[in-house]
Symmetry: C2
Subunit: 309 residues, 2 copies
């Protein structure tokens, strides 16, 4: 019998991954909110460098309580919606099922672990450019890779488990590369090396990534912020080498000019994921006696802008 997936949040990210899984034959159940009526009638449209396609019929729900319990539950909401998870998650997770948290930031698996138990939580990090351009209409622009790693309450690395390998197999044929990692905490800090400077500065300075890289003052500032992320990671003995920073800077220079996800949220007047992406890492480092002054300042600026918008 085909493995079942629940997609909690059918937006640019959840909608894309869910549609690709359905396309390769898995049994996918989509939770929707504002787009529910439209998608129930018209299905999903996906534009993607992996090939454009339409799913005229999907298993759509606007109430988690109506969904079947699934083998894998993908949390694809923005972290600003996580207060909804205590209602949404319990009905959709099978007893031996897992919850895959495809969200940005740090410490977000803790929220999910409190609801379903830490042993059922897997962390996922998406490297994806995708927008929702209309109801049930997703435009996948670039990238798509997902890193998966087991969650444990104290971030002890757990190695590569069978269930991680099973999810990787489920994605075979979707065109989405799955990388299995043994250390979730290291992967999360590594992702913050890019996310903290570029999401933060793009909002505060109203700029695209290429503009931030084109000026020496912001290129230097981005690198200094990256170094503070490295210091944060080191507070729990995760070492990120200089070569990793250099790779991130080179990669950003070569990227297509790009509005970051936080900048898109800000421009569209949606809540910003600053607690998960800035507040939690700062708190995490602070608890280990480490202060990160420039990231703190960027967070203060973002908190102000979030309230003013």
């Amino acid at each position: 019998m085909s493995r079942s997936y629940a997609i909690i949040g059918t937006g640019a990210l959840g909608g894309l991954y869910g549609a690709l899984l359905q396309k390769v034959g898995l049994d996918v159940h989509f939770l929707l909110h504002s787009d529910y009526q439209h998608v129930q009638t018209h299905g999903l449209i996906v534009e993607s460098p992996l090939g454009n396609f339409t799913l005229p019929q999907i298993q759509a729900y606007n109430d988690a309580a109506q969904m079947p319990a699934c083998d894998v539950v993908i949390v694809a909401l923005k972290t600003t919606q996580n207060h909804l998870l205590p209602q949404l998650l319990p009905p959709v997770v099978k007893d031996d099922g897992v919850v895959l948290v495809l969200q940005n930031g740090l410490g977000i698996e803790d929220d999910v672990a409190e609801i379903v138990g830490g042993e059922r939580v897997i962390g996922g990090l998406c490297f994806l450019c995708s927008n929702k351009v209309g109801a049930g209409h997703i435009r996948h622009l670039d990238y798509g890779e997902i890193k998966l790693a087991e969650y444990t309450p104290n971030y002890q690395p757990m190695g590569i488990t069978q269930r991680l390998q099973q999810i990787a197999r489920d994605f075979e044929g979707t065109g989405i590369p799955i990388l299995l990692e043994s250390d979730l905490l290291l992967a999360r800090w590594q992702k913050l090396v890019w996310n903290i400077p570029f999401n933060g500065l793009s909002v505060v300075l109203n700029a695209r990534t290429d503009e931030l890289m084109a000026h020496s003052s912001t290129r230097i500032l981005a690198e200094e912020l990256m170094r503070e992320v490295v210091t944060g990671a080191k507070s729990s003995d995760r070492l990120i080498p200089d070569s990793f920073l250099q790779k991130m800077l080179d990669y950003t220079l070569k990227m297509t000019p790009y509005r970051t996800s936080m900048k898109i949220d800000y421009d569209d007047r949606r809540p910003l994921e600053i607690a998960a992406m800035f507040g939690n890492p700062l708190h995490f480092a602070q608890e280990r006696g480490v202060t990160l002054p420039k990231i703190t300042m960027l967070y203060q600026q973002l908190q102000f802008l979030a309230k003013m918008s």
Copy 2:
């Protein structure tokens, strides 16, 4: 014979002080640029809480070489125009005259000293809300006090000299309070305690002073930036007590909601005085082995925005 003043830059600041000096009977010569024709014909209009008045005729010039040498030359240009001073200053300073530098920032007297000799330079700090609302039309909104202090190349305090007292007497009757200070460097750092956080953050966060004070994240950040200014001052043994910071914060809370001068420049797409107000103080502290990370970051952000605007 009445003392003569030259006003180098007849804008919101130079125009106001010059008009008030003429009104109390001094011999004032005004250098203008874009407003020259209009002011030559129509004179100056001043709206002020000190009383509205018009000067139908003033001694206006659009060429410094045509001006007489004066007893006191007031430099009232923005620091972004200081590259013009080597041309403008020499003809207008009497042999026993002085140059009064009414500009923001740190280290700006050095530029003037190189041109006219350090012994002829006096530093002035203006606490003024004034806008130019049209050609030759100045709207003085609030405050107006000027602090004066002698300049010396190594910022050795010089005490209160006779020539400072003479200038203070010249302002008698204008309604502008003149405070004489013995230590220019201390006065400059004290002024930066307010200017650095509020000018900088108002531009980066597109905010008025009352908005910055209304949110805890920016109120705390402003205070942290103030503490770095105190650290900068301490690098050359100028001590600014905590009570001074508290007074500045209280005063900002009570101020009329206000766009800072740098924000007005930014909104009007004029060059920003960031080199004088941020670059020079950072360089000054750096030379004494002191780094100011948050002010550095704010300067980096401002440099980016200045280039993008």
